[in-house]
Structures are given as structure tokens and as C-alpha cells.
Symmetry: C2
Subunit: 146 residues, 2 copies
Amino acid sequence: MEETPARLTSKPSWLLTQLAVHAHRMASDGFGEVGARGYHYRLLAALHEFGAASQAELGRRSAMDRSDVVAAINQLVERGFVERTPDPDDRRRNIVALTPAGDAQLRRMDRALDKVQDDLLGPLTAEDRQTLTRLLTRLLAHHRNR
Amino acid sequence: MEETPARLTSKPSWLLTQLAVHAHRMASDGFGEVGARGYHYRLLAALHEFGAASQAELGRRSAMDRSDVVAAINQLVERGFVERTPDPDDRRRNIVALTPAGDAQLRRMDRALDKVQDDLLGPLTAEDRQTLTRLLTRLLAHHRNR
DNA sequence: GGTCGTTTGTTGGCTGCGCCAACGTTGGTT
DNA sequence: AACCAACGTTGGCGCAGCCAACAAACGACC
């Protein structure tokens, strides 16, 4: 059983990034079962919660680069999960809207993700889970605004 | 100020991966100042803590793929931070050893990383930091072996 | 009106990290 | 001798994050 250097295991940044690798892999597996990836989920979630929006706005809400939004929306359009129409009021923009099929896909991904959360937090008590979530939320909010 | 969907912000896997992005970026910036990356730090740390080892063993200790170890060691050799010599007792293996220059580089990266931890945990009290570290360690240990 | 700066969509590219398949060489087992 | 396992190496893939550039369109200002 090979050991990991204490220099690494003692550093929160190491714990965080390594655990994120596991979380990411689990989520990817879940998404993969419905033929999707993380970017798709973020966009569908933003559309469902805030309604139709331009690509730039979607990017901001989903913490994605504009260029990555283009590619992901292309794929979602191709599958009929989303509709892209030019904005008549601002000809620079596209309006992206969720379709019923997209809504169904979002629910499928939701179910897959819920399972992931449970696997991820496996050995933690309900109280510990809450504590962890609270701490992570605080930190993320702090760094979100640089 | 654009909002992020609650579907995302409520999921530990989202908090974890997004916060990991920040942590990774901060660490990358720190490492970048001494012209290195995460892989280099992992290898140097393993060498310093456990002594000279074969590449395969280093990979296991640093949670890296064999092929990625090859490339990273090449770069460390090129900079004189590490020496690679054939193992006379097992001609399949190379013995990788830390040089004094490598040790100095490790210390430089250590200092950069310490700063990162502080920035990362910025708004947390000492007690909260300890709690977070404890929870993350528990989770990582759980997923490491399965 | 015309000019300037900004926003938007899009293309193309780059980096880090994790991972996998294949191959030849070498060791250990039987 | 035959087999399987481990090692180093090459080459390649996927996801996520990011940046630069461009043309088109918008807004504000004089």
C-alpha cells in the first residue's frame, strides 16, 4: 500500500482538488449514462431556473466561457433539448430556450446527480454533510468575487 | 450580478469542483512563478519524503499515471532537479533521485503553496479550517480505496 | 449624423490533468 | 521453457478552463 506524501495530504488545496477529481469522475459517469456532460447540465439548469436567455448571459450564469457555450449549445440544439433563435430586439444576440425534451433530459441528469451526491458524501453523517456544504459555500462565495 | 442556478450551488459536487477550480488556479499561479506545475510538486514531494524510487512507484505515491510520470521526470531531469539512473538490480527500472537543486525547488514551491492555503481558506476561522480539513480527509480516504 | 467603445457570437487554439492502449524489455513463477 | 506480471515509453483521447481575434451590431456622446 503506497503512501502519499504528508506534504500533499496535509494541504487543503490537495484534498480539495483530489476529491474534486473523484466527484468529477462520478458526475461524468452519471452524465455519460444519458449521453451528456457537465456543460450541458449547467446550461439546462440555468435555462430552467431563469428562463430563456442569450448565450452570453448563460455563460455568466453557468460560469462558462462564451466560446464553450457556443459548442455546448450546438450539441443541445442537435439533440432537440434547446432552441436557438435570433433576438429581434438585439440582432447581436441569440435567444436560447429550453424545449420539453430538454426539460426531460434535465430531470434525467438530476436523478443521476442526486445519486452522485450520496455516493460522494457516503461516510458522512447528515450533520457533517451540512457542515461541509456550509463551509464550501462560504469559501466559494468568497472566491467567486475574486 | 448574475446568479448561479440553485440546482448547482446546492450540490456538494458542484461546490467541490468549482472551489477546486479556484484552488487549482491559485496553485498554478504560485507554481508558475517558479516555472513548475502540479505534477512536479507531487514528484519532488514524494522523492523528498520517501527517498529515491522507481518511476512506477513514484506514480503510485503521487497518484499519477505511468506515462505522465515519464514526461514530468523528463522535465525535472532537464532542469537538474532530479537524476534518472538505471537500476542495476532490476534492469526494467529507473531509479529517480532528488538533487540538491531539486530540494531547493521543492522548498520554493512549498512557500508558494503555503501562501495559497492561506488565500484559499481566507475567511475561515482556525477551527473551521480544521473541521474542513478533517471532513475532506475522511472523504478522500474513503474514495481513495474504491 | 458620425465616431468611439462595448457587447455578442463564433472560430481556432492552448494548457493542465486524468486516463488508456500498445509495445518491447525484463523479472519472477511454475 | 513457457507464462504472466511489471516497467518505461510513445502516442493519443476527453473534459474543463481560458484567451485572442474578428465581424456584426448596439449605445452613448459630441
